[in-house]
């Protein structure tokens, strides 16, 4: 068991350091948390694709959690979370909590499209990588991504207006 665990740790660590996160994250805190959740959640990755899928999901959870807490803190008048500050800034005006809600709605309509967004946006995967993870063609991903983006944009705008 410890051996398997070590191997997993090593793999996760490598992924985190070299593969994906290195290129997409600014906050070491988030990386650390994702890493810890990945290794401590004792997920057994079947392969690279599986790893990306799980990590994109995790990133979504973590970021949305942060955003949600940040919201409530703001409401409560507390405003000293520098971590949240780090997170808030580069998300370019997208309210991650709203995005998460919209994504849930999208997954009701088309689960695969929702996953595509999760992988592309939260996981930072390219069209090709996403296609690999989902075992579909890159053209399919590209088309689905385009329509999902349009729908999400409209949905976020509508929700914001409400």
């Amino acid at each position: 068991m410890p051996l398997v665990y070590d191997e997993l740790r090593r793999v996760a660590h490598n992924y985190l350091q070299r593969e994906r996160f290195d290129h997409t994250l600014q906050s070491t805190a988030v990386v650390h948390e994702a890493y810890l959740r990945l290794v401590e959640g004792a997920v057994e990755f079947q392969n690279r694709e599986h790893f990306f899928a799980v990590s994109a999901q995790l990133m979504r959870q973590i970021l949305v959690d942060y955003a949600r807490r940040h919201r409530s803190l703001k409401r409560d008048g507390g405003y000293k979370l520098t971590l949240d500050e780090t997170l808030k800034l580069p998300s370019k005006g997208i309210d991650l909590v709203n995005l998460d809600d919209a994504l849930k709605e999208l997954s009701q309509m088309d689960a695969r499209q929702s996953r595509i967004v999760e992988l592309r946006f939260f996981g930072g995967l390219s069209i090709e990588e996403t296609a690999e993870v989902l075992s579909v063609s890159a053209a399919t991903v590209e088309r689905s991504w385009a329509s999902a983006r349009a729908w999400l944009y409209r949905q976020l705008k509508r929700n914001a207006a409400r």
């Binding site: 997409t24 939260f122 930072g124 385009a146 983006r149």
Partner: protein, 849 residues
């Protein structure tokens, strides 16, 4: 919206999105003719798509990734090279100065706060002004679309973190890095700049061995907002319990307390980094950052020697002194620190930056004393730490000269031969490194030789010399590596060990050298280098003697080699390399007709298989089996083994020689040339590769080429009969029978067959070439004559026009599997190539027409 409805909308939307507006309208008119609400949905989504800027959701929430081709002032982004807590780093092209640079885009959190930004710029400018070889050179600061960026020199290599992740760092390199880091820090501190967030992630190791300190001036910017000016770097306010934050482990106690900190905080971090390099464990690491901080305040890290034994005590003391809780008890300046480390490195000279003048403070004097004491202590205990320079030294070929053993101590001489051999073998495992074969370097044994000259003779980049002194059970080994080109001292070390541990020491020396020359070897490669061939010293020394005699490449040498190899495998029945030596000796004895061939071949094959069974990764074992199979006419298998041998150890001259033989006998002479040339490069001063080359040229029918090679072979070893024999054959082909006879006679003399020599000369004098050949045929075909060799008899008979007799002997050679491998390549058999008996024989030998 239901899933079904969405699928309908989606289909139309996705198709429409791929069209230009005109086509789109026509398309929508058509598909939505009966469903206006569908049209409404699609139109609204198309509008949303238009509004959503191209950036919407395109980059992950935590990045500000720049696209290739983006211009930031004079800089054009090429590609992302990395990212860390302090932003992303891109490779970019400086369009004005036409050079590649690194552009670091600072996180928005830094850019968005004007006060922080001002401070960052101030400090970064100050750091940039340092212009020190161990500090990242900052060229420019700028802003782009509200984001700040910093342009610096582009580094190639990896962070210290990546190196540590692979395991402990050798003490020598820790000292080297330490000296460089300390110099960089000293230069910064002198200007009043403190790093405050030194950690392995902030130290960059360039490919040419230089350490660069990164992110000066950034540390202050990441302080918690609520904290004071001097509080914890990189900790972002409140964190989840149990969440281990990046750099807590390198903070000094005063930083943890939020007290004022100065340059001595960097000293603490420096100590923690050295500690981690040496032990591959953090000095302070607990499950949560709070506990880690508590440990920094209250606990002493485990003694380094408990984790990594065998390090110089002075080095351990330096590290622990850096980690003192009270800043007053640490080194008071980074230059003191650099000085103390340099004393350990033995050179006293600053490796990285000889131009930096050290601060002349009174403390220096004290440290000269302490440094000297440290050096003495180290020397007395085990090892004096080698001198080294950190300038890049490219060494692609190396010769290990025989280690000297002063005095008349025969035992010490055996030891030194063993050490030489072992280091050659171990270094041969390094990739992209040509290591001269023992045959060439042992020519320098017992000779007063200038290493540089020897290096030039062998055309190598570097030469290793060494000396072994034995006092009772103590062994003192000192060794030095120098560059041939200019005599630069690359590396040197002294090892003081118990004589019983010599075998381990040999591998240790080889490992240290490889570490110095190729610091980035994989652990698998390192393992190959440090692997012991046997743990039985006696067996090893017998083996080395066996190799030495084997290299003489004559009957007497092989006879002695056989004795030594046999004794070696008796002492250690698990000694694969000795079995390989035994196999080669048997095989060649059979081949050269020194013993009954079939019997010797069988023994050779068995020994080779045994060697391989013992160590499947041993190149020599595969080569031995390849040779045995070749002589047994198993062509396909033989080639497989020989190629495997070369792939396992491209540095083995003998493997290349065997393969050259194989190729030329198989009628693939052209392919044999590169193999032969490689063998010569690896063993440039020994007769074997030239004798092999003589064969290759002869069988390829380049007789003038053969003569040149054979002359060299004879020059290196005038006592070897074999090249003279080939010389004779070559002259014969050139119709120079008088010269041929002379060479044959010399060969007979050297074989100890004086009577034959005289008889051949007389026969030539009385009845010319024909008479001489008749005489030869007589010897070759007479089982009682020492020259008896059916293959040669067959060839000579063919030359004399006696085809029937010739084939009779060729058949005998085939039955005995002796020399018949020449059948296809031998020029002297040209007279019978169209004979059906020749074709039949060739087929049975296993070669195509």
């Amino acid at each position: 919206m239901t899933g079904e409805r969405w699928q309908e909308i989606r289909n139309v939307l996705e198709t429409a999105l791929q069209m230009d507006s005109e086509k789109r309208r026509a398309y929508l008119d058509q598909v939505c003719a009966l469903d206006q609400s569908l049209r409404g949905e699609v139109e609204s989504l198309l509008a949303a798509d238009k509004q959503a800027q191209t950036s919407f959701l395109q980059s992950p929430p935590l990045t500000t990734r720049l696209e290739k081709g983006t211009r930031l002032g004079d800089y054009e982004i090429q590609s992302l090279v990395g990212a860390g807590g302090m932003g992303e780093v891109y490779r970019a092209r400086d369009l004005r100065l036409r050079r590649d640079v690194a552009v670091k885009v600072l996180p928005a959190v830094v850019s968005s706060n004007p006060e922080r930004l001002r401070r960052f710029e101030q400090e970064a400018r100050a750091a940039a002004a340092l212009n020190h070889p161990n500090i990242l050179a900052v060229h420019q600061l700028g802003t782009y679309a509200g984001t700040s960026y910093m342009v610096s020199e582009l580094l190639e290599g990896e962070t210290l973190r990546e190196q540590i992740r692979r395991g402990r760092v050798a003490a020598l390199r820790v000292i080297d890095y330490g000296v460089q880091i300390a110099h960089g820090l000293a230069a910064a501190h002198e200007k009043g700049i403190v790093h405050r967030d030194l950690k392995p992630e902030n130290l960059y190791l360039t490919k040419d061995g230089r350490v660069k300190i990164l992110d000066f001036g950034l540390a202050k910017l990441t302080q918690s907002q609520a904290g004071s000016e001097h509080s914890a770097p990189t900790i972002g306010g409140e964190t989840e319990p149990g969440l281990v934050m990046g750099t807590v482990g390198y903070m000094s106690p005063e930083q943890v307390r939020g007290q004022a900190s100065d340059h001595r905080a960097d000293t603490f971090a420096f100590g923690a980094i050295l500690y981690e390099m040496l032990t591959s464990q953090r000095a302070f690491q607990k499950p949560t950052s709070l506990e880690t901080m508590a440990a920094i305040l209250n606990e002493d890290p485990h003694g380094i020697s408990q984790i990594t034994p065998g390090l110089p005590p002075a080095l351990q003391r330096i590290v622990h002194r850096c980690l003192e809780k009270n800043p007053e008890q640490r080194f008071q300046s980074a230059s003191d620190l650099a000085f103390a480390l340099e004393a350990l490195s033995g050179s006293g000279a600053s490796p990285a930056n000889p131009d930096t003048s050290r601060e002349k403070s009174p403390r220096i004097t004290a440290w000269i004393v302490i440094g000297a004491v440290a050096a003495v202590l180290v020397a007395g205990l085990t090892v004096t730490w080698p001198m080294f320079r950190s300038q890049p030294q490219t060494v692609h070929s190396i010769a290990v000269l025989p280690f000297a053993s002063p005095g008349q101590d025969a035992g010490a001489e055996d030891l030194s031969d063993g050490v030489t051999e072992a280091i050659i073998d171990a270094l041969s495992q390094m990739p992209d490194m040509k290591v001269m074969a023992r045959g060439s370097v042992f020519r320098y044994k017992h000779k007063e030789v200038d290493p540089q000259q020897a290096g030039r003779d062998m055309k190598v980049d570097a030469v290793l010399t060494g000396q072994i002194t034995r006092r009772g059970n103590d062994l003192l080994v000192s060794t030095e590596l120098e560059k041939v080109e200019d005599g630069t001292h690359l590396w040197g070390a002294q090892y003081n060990r118990n004589a019983a541990s010599i075998l381990a020491l040999q591998q240790e020396i080889a490992s240290d050298i490889s570490q110095r020359l190729q610091p980035r070897l994989s652990s698998g490669q390192k393992q190959k280098i440090s692997r012991l061939p046997t743990d039985n010293l006696e067996a090893y020394q017998l083996y080395v003697k066996g190799r030495y005699f084997f290299d003489r490449w004559n009957e007497g040498g092989r006879k002695k080699a056989l004795e030594y190899f046999e004794q070696a495998v008796t002492r250690d029945p698990g000694f694969a390399a000795a079995f390989a030596g035994l196999a080669d000796t048997y095989s060649l004895r059979g081949f050269f007709g020194e013993a009954t061939n079939l019997e010797e071949s069988a023994k050779g094959m068995a020994a080779a298989r045994k060697a391989l069974a013992l160590d499947n990764s041993l190149a020599e074992a595969h080569a031995s089996l390849g040779l045995a199979l070749l002589l047994d006419l198993q062509w396909t298998e033989a080639e497989k083994q020989l190629r495997q041998a070369i792939s396992l150890n491209a540095n083995s001259s003998i493997c290349h020689s065997y393969y050259a033989w194989y190729l030329v006998f198989a009628g693939r002479g052209k392919e044999a040339f590169p193999e032969m040339e490689t063998a010569q490069v690896l063993d440039p001063l020994s007769s074997i590769p030239y004798a092999t080359a003589g064969d290759v040229y002869y069988f390829a029918r380049d007789f003038d080429g053969a003569i040149l090679q054979l002359q060299k072979a004879i020059e290196f070893d005038p006592s070897n009969p074999d090249p003279h024999k080939t010389f004779g054959d070559t002259y014969l082909e050139k119709h120079m029978c008088s010269e041929a006879t002379k060479e044959y006679a010399i060969s007979e003399e050297l074989l100890g067959n004086s009577q034959n020599a005289v008889a051949l000369t007389k026969a030539f004098e009385s009845s010319g070439c024909h008479g001489m050949l008749r005489k030869q045929l007589e010897f070759y075909s007479d089982p009682s004559n020492p020259d008896y060799y059916p293959m040669s008899a067959g060839i000579t008979a063919v030359l004399l026009g006696e085809k029937d007799q010739g084939f009779e002997f060729l058949e005998k050679a085939f039955e005995a599997k002796q020399g018949i491998i020449w059948l296809k390549a031998e020029p002297e058999l040209d007279g019978v190539r169209s004979d059906p008996r020749y074709a039949d024989l060739l087929r049975r030998v296993g070669l195509p027409q």
